[in-house]
Symmetry: C2
């Protein structure tokens, strides 16, 4: 935003401007969801080059939203404090019209079963759809579960295979940068209702985002439910081999 005539720089506005960019916003969301990440991973998530991601992260760090953690040779950026994700949540609540009674009254009742079957877990898919997509990816050897960094919090990690890269690329998910995802954050996230893991982390988020872009799924105006569209049913059947 231009700064005409000497305006006093408003801290509120400048903080908001850090989140006001789509690339930075997606980075922050993924950091809130998946924990500290490397620059290249965040670049892949935001679909920008490493240079651009680096600049964004520098700005976020200067603004105090993220911190740079130096572990041996690799940097990682993480959210600076819980207040950041709280602010993201508060902002997110403003996206919907939020006239709750009117929204409820206006909501169509028809696709109720589909709503329950497909949910989003903050930024990735959950519910039956999330589990089925994950199962399909494992079944077709597009991702492989690894006990790479076992521990109490992360029960494991998925690794993207070469075929998986090609598959996602054909789906328009990222591009060559996905290589960096290959050895990083794609972790299982236990589903509450299905009692089985679904794909979380940045990879899960990237898939969910892409399915939204393709209009295969649509976020419902209220809550976390997502709806599988007609095109989505066909697409998921054809490309993922699942029958939603």
């Amino acid at each position: 935003m231009p700064n005409y005539g000497m305006r006093s720089s408003d801290p509120l506005a400048s903080t908001a401007s850090l989140i006001a960019d789509p690339s930075r916003a997606s980075m922050l969301v993924v950091l809130a969801e998946a924990g500290p990440l490397a620059v290249s991973d965040l670049a892949a998530v935001a679909r920008v080059t490493a240079q651009t991601a680096s600049e964004h992260l520098a700005r976020l760090a200067e603004g105090g939203l993220v911190v740079r953690q130096q572990t041996s040779r690799f940097h990682r950026y993480g959210l600076a404090h819980p207040g950041v994700s709280e602010a993201l949540v508060a902002l997110r609540k403003l996206t919907a019209p939020v006239d709750s009674t009117a929204a409820l009254a206006a909501a169509p009742r028809a696709p109720f079963a589909a709503e329950l079957a497909a949910r989003s877990c903050y930024d990735h898919l959950a519910g039956r759809l999330g589990v089925e997509v994950t199962d399909a990816l494992v079944r077709d050897r597009l991702i492989r579960r690894e006990s790479w960094n076992p521990g109490p919090t992360r029960s494991g990690s998925y690794r993207l295979t070469k075929n998986g890269i090609e598959f996602l690329d054909s789906l328009g998910i990222v591009s060559a940068e996905l290589r960096s995802l290959r050895r990083s954050f794609a972790h299982p996230c236990m589903d509450r209702t299905e009692r089985r893991p679904h794909l979380g982390g940045a990879l899960g988020a990237a898939i969910a985002t892409r399915l939204m872009e393709l209009r295969w799924i649509e976020r419902l105006p209220e809550g976390r439910a997502v709806r599988i569209t007609k095109a989505g049913g066909a697409g998921l059947r054809e490309r993922f081999g699942i029958d939603p």
Copy 2:
């Protein structure tokens, strides 16, 4: 922000961008503090012309942050729902570094009494300084208390006198637009520690903002305390006739 290549428009980012402009941010803050206001008043607060304010308000309304209330001939814009002010608060918490232990350790201990004496009450002055400034304005007949719209929530209202307009103008606070402030929002706000009213509302916010610009007071990195600078001490003595 440019929208290169076809990026999926992120609702989180676009919501944040509504707050990311200093003019809009100040309008939202004042609306949260003082309730629904007319376009001209908000223009005065943001220090922009009515045209610009109108455009900003249209954007905010389209984004669902404010609503336009039509009362007879005069429009008023107000916050659409409480979530907006909650988001403002959440964002505000991010302005300070907030590494609380480190911030506390790094904070200089010297001007402690001054910190307590001067505080800000969201966006206007509170504490001893707030009360003294208000008293001085009343004493010099620059504002006059009116029981214009008495009620349980707003115990009254201040009205800016003609002398008051000139005084504020000489301080560089607004300009001729302050005329519109004259018949609107400048309400007393009970101070918790001083047990006496200080000047709240948009007028109070405008004064606080101007004192910040003049570097007469400085917001401390943490909390609501403000510090009276050396120049501020002299200025407040000379112009307001108070001895902080």
